[in-house]
C-alpha cells in the first residue's frame, strides 16, 4: 500500500439527516434576506423588516420570542440583534436597531431593497406557554422594548390565555419613546400600558420619574393570588433589571418566574468564540433569556 493519506471531506462524510445545530455546513451559512422596509422610529433607532429571499428557507425559519439572530452586511460587520416581531410570522422578522457603531450606522444609511445576511435564530426564549393562565408584567427600559415586542405580539395573539397583562415602559424622554404608533392597539387588546419618562417635555401629559415608581404602584396592595400567579419579563440595561427584579422579589414573585435578557459581546452565537461568557456560562447558548434565579447564581452577571 502506498503510504499516502487521503483527504477527508468532513462535509460530505457527515450523515445527511443532521439538524442545524449539528450540521457542519450550517455553521457559517447565512440566509440572504431583503430589507423590505426601514422605518425610522427616533433619531437613533430604526425598525427594519427583513424577508428571507429563498421561499423554502422562509417557510422553515421560525423562532421563539426572546431569541436573537446575527445580521451580516458583507465587508461591514456582523452583530447580534433581538428579534422584535411576532413569532407566528415565518421567514420575516423585524429588528429595532440603534446606531452604535460601524454596522449599525451603515445600516441606517442603506434602505429598502438592500440584501443582508442572517444566521439564526440563536439562544433561549421566554417560555410563553408556561405562562398561560397567569398575569404578566412586561417591563422594558429604553431599547429593551425591542426584544419585548416579540412576547407582546405573542400575548396579543393569544390574549385569552393570559389574565391581567401590564406593560411597564420607562425611557429618558418622550422623544425616546419607541413604537408610539402601536400603543393604541396594545390598549385595545386589554393590555395596560404604563409609560413613564425620566424628563418630560412641554407636551408630555403622562408620568415622570423612574420605572420602578410605576412598578411599585402596580404591585402595591394586591392579594397573594396575584403575586404567586404572576410572571415578569424584564428587558433593559443591567442596572435597571437589578432594581426591578429586587422589587419584584420583595413582593414575593418567584425568581423562577422572572425572566431577563442579558446583553453580552457576541461574535458567533454558537458557543465557540467565548466572547459572551458570563463566568463560565455561554450567554448565546444558555441565554440570552435567563430566569432570575439562574442570573443570581451566575458570577459577574450583573
Amino acid at each position: 500500500m502506498k503510504p499516502e493519506l487521503k483527504f477527508t471531506d468532513v462535509i460530505s462524510q457527515q450523515e445527511k439527516t443532521q439538524k442545524r445545530k449539528n450540521d457542519l455546513s450550517s455553521f457559517e451559512y447565512t440566509y440572504r434576506a431583503e430589507i423590505t422596509s426601514a422605518y425610522q422610529l427616533t433619531d437613533m433607532e430604526t425598525l427594519y423588516r427583513l424577508q428571507i429571499i429563498n421561499p423554502d428557507e422562509r417557510r422553515r425559519f421560525t423562532f421563539i420570542p426572546g431569541q436573537f439572530l446575527m445580521l451580516e452586511v458583507p465587508g461591514i460587520g456582523e452583530a447580534p440583534f433581538s428579534i422584535s416581531s411576532s413569532p407566528s410570522i415565518h421567514g420575516e422578522v423585524e429588528l429595532c436597531i440603534r446606531k452604535a457603531g460601524n454596522l449599525t450606522n451603515y445600516l441606517s444609511k442603506i434602505g429598502r431593497g438592500a440584501v443582508v445576511g442572517i444566521r439564526g435564530p440563536f439562544g433561549t426564549g421566554f417560555p410563553m406557554e408556561e405562562m398561560h393562565g397567569q398575569n404578566i408584567l412586561l417591563i422594558a427600559g429604553g431599547l429593551g422594548l425591542a426584544p419585548l415586542r416579540a412576547p407582546i405580539a405573542y400575548v396579543q395573539e393569544n390574549r385569552s390565555h393570559f389574565k391581567e397583562v401590564n406593560i411597564i415602559y420607562g425611557t429618558k424622554s418622550p422623544a425616546h419613546l419607541l413604537f408610539t404608533y402601536q400603543y393604541d392597539l396594545w390598549s385595545k387588546d386589554d393590555i395596560n400600558l404604563n409609560i413613564i419618562v425620566e424628563k418630560a417635555d412641554p407636551s408630555w401629559k403622562g408620568s415622570v420619574g423612574m420605572l420602578t415608581e410605576t412598578l411599585l404602584k402596580i404591585l402595591t396592595g394586591r392579594d397573594d393570588a396575584f403575586y404567586s400567579n404572576t410572571y415578569a419579563i424584564v428587558c433593559g440595561p443591567p442596572v435597571m433589571f437589578k432594581f426591578v427584579c429586587s422589587m419584584l422579589n420583595k413582593f414575593h414573585i418567584p425568581m423562577q418566574k422572572m425572566f431577563v435578557s442579558l446583553e453580552r459581546r457576541m461574535h458567533c452565537g454558537m458557543g465557540k468564540c467565548c466572547r459572551c461568557n458570563v463566568g463560565s456560562t455561554y450567554t448565546c447558548l444558555k441565554g440570552p433569556v435567563f430566569d432570575y434565579w439562574t442570573v443570581m447564581n451566575l458570577k459577574e452577571a450583573i
Binding site: 493519506l5 456582523e78 459581546r265 468564540c273 466572547r275 463560565s280 447558548l285
Partner: protein, 348 residues
C-alpha cells in the same frame, strides 16, 4: 492495542517513506535564546535531520495548523449592491504531525470536546482536525511543566501512533489502521519481555522528572468560593493585558470576527482572529460598557474558564499544564503560583 519495537534508524526510513506523499510538520530548532538554549518551533519539514525529536517544548503550540491566528471564514463578491458569499474551510490536504508530546495531543482532545463534540460543531476546525495523522512521542519533563497534575502527562487517544525511546530501539503503540498500514514500510517486531521491562523503566525514569505540582483537589469549587479573593487584584496589578499567554496556549481558542472590504471594492472578507480574554475589549459592548474593564477581572476569567467552566461542562480542565503561558509571560505570571495563591489566600 498493538505494540511493536523497531531499530532507531528505521524512524528515518519511516519519515522518508512518508515525506514522498505527504506534508509533514515537526519540531525544529528555530534559533537560540540569550543563554544559548535552543528555541523550538513546529514547522513543515522535508528533511528528517532537521527534526529534533529530543526537543524540550516549543515556544508556541502547533495551533496555527488547526486554529490559525487569522483565518477567512468567508469571502464575498460584491456586485451592484448584491453579493455572493463563498465559504471555505481552509483545509485541502492532510498533514502529518511528527513528534507531538502528550500535552499537545491532550490539548487537541480537549479542543475536540468543545469544537467538534458539542452543539454547532466548527467546520473550520473539523476539516483540519480530521485530516491530521499524529505521531506522538514521549517528552523529558521540564521544570515548568505540571501536566502530571492536570492528568495530561500521558495520551490515551487522539493520535495514530505513539513512540517511546528505549535506548537502542523505539517502542511504538499503534492506535489506528492507517498507522498500522504505514508501518508496513519499515522493519519492526513484536516486543519481547525485555522490551517491556525497558519500556517500564523508561516510564518510571520519566515520572521521576516531574517536579512542579499543582493541587487540583476541589479546584472548581474553590475557585467559585474565592471569586472575590484579594489575590486576583494582586495578580491583576502585575498583568500587562498583552494576551501573550493565550497566544502561547495550546487550548486557548476564543476569537473575534471582523469584516473588511477588499481594496478593489469588488470583494469583501470575514476574518476570524484568535483573541485573548486578557485583552481590554474582550467583553466590551455597544454603548461603551465593559463587563471586564479591569485587568484582574480578565485574568481571573481566563483561570475560571480553564479550571472551572470547562470542568463543569466536560469534567476536565482546559489546561494541559504545558507551562507555555508562564514561560512566555513578561510578568512571570505562572499557573502553579496563581492557583497556589488562590488556595492559600495570599500571593507568595
Amino acid at each position: 492495542m498493538i505494540f511493536r519495537v523497531f531499530e532507531k534508524k528505521e524512524l528515518k526510513n519511516f519519515f522518508e517513506v512518508l515525506t514522498v506523499h505527504n506534508r509533514i510538520v515537526g519540531p525544529v530548532e528555530a534559533g537560540r535564546d540569550k543563554k544559548n538554549n535552543p528555541i523550538y518551533s513546529f514547522t513543515e519539514v522535508s528533511d528528517f535531520n532537521n527534526i529534533k525529536l529530543d526537543y524540550t517544548t516549543t515556544k508556541l503550540p502547533a495551533k496555527r495548523y488547526f486554529l490559525p491566528f487569522h483565518e477567512d471564514l468567508s469571502t464575498f463578491r460584491i456586485d451592484n449592491g448584491d453579493w455572493q458569499k463563498t465559504i471555505d474551510y481552509n483545509a485541502n490536504q492532510p498533514l502529518i504531525f511528527f513528534g507531538l508530546h502528550p500535552c499537545d495531543i491532550n490539548a487537541l482532545n480537549k479542543l475536540d470536546k468543545v469544537l467538534l463534540h458539542s452543539v454547532y460543531p466548527m467546520p473550520y476546525y473539523a476539516a483540519k482536525r480530521k485530516n491530521m495523522f499524529i505521531i506522538g512521542i514521549d517528552c523529558v519533563p521540564q521544570p515548568f511543566c505540571f501536566c502530571r497534575s492536570m492528568g495530561s502527562d500521558t495520551a490515551l487517544h487522539g493520535f495514530d501512533m505513539f513512540i517511546t525511546d528505549l535506548g537502542a530501539k523505539f517502542f511504538v503503540e499503534i492506535l489506528t489502521d492507517t498507522a498500522y498500514n504505514f508501518l508496513k514500510n519499515i522493519k519492526k517486531e513484536e516486543p519481547r519481555e525485555k522490551d517491556h521491562v525497558l519500556y517500564m523503566k523508561a516510564v518510571s525514569e520519566r515520572n521521576k522528572k516531574f517536579t512542579t505540582k499543582v493541587d487540583t483537589t476541589d479546584l472548581a469549587k474553590i475557585l467559585d468560593m474565592e471569586f472575590q479573593s484579594e489575590v486576583w487584584k494582586q495578580w491583576g496589578d502585575k498583568c500587562l493585558a498583552c494576551g501573550t499567554c493565550s497566544n502561547a496556549c495550546p487550548t486557548c481558542y476564543c476569537y473575534g470576527v471582523e469584516e473588511t472590504v477588499d481594496i478593489d471594492l469588488k470583494g469583501a472578507r470575514k476574518t476570524k482572529m484568535l483573541h485573548s480574554c486578557n485583552l481590554i475589549d474582550f467583553a466590551e459592548v455597544a454603548g461603551g460598557h465593559n463587563f471586564r474593564a479591569e485587568r484582574h477581572s480578565r485574568l481571573k476569567y481566563r483561570y475560571y474558564h480553564k479550571h472551572r467552566g470547562f470542568v463543569e461542562a466536560f469534567e476536565e480542565s482546559l489546561c494541559v499544564g504545558c507551562g507555555r503561558c508562564g514561560e512566555s509571560c513578561l510578568s512571570g505570571i505562572k499557573v502553579p503560583e496563581v492557583i497556589a495563591s488562590v488556595r492559600g489566600g495570599k500571593v507568595k
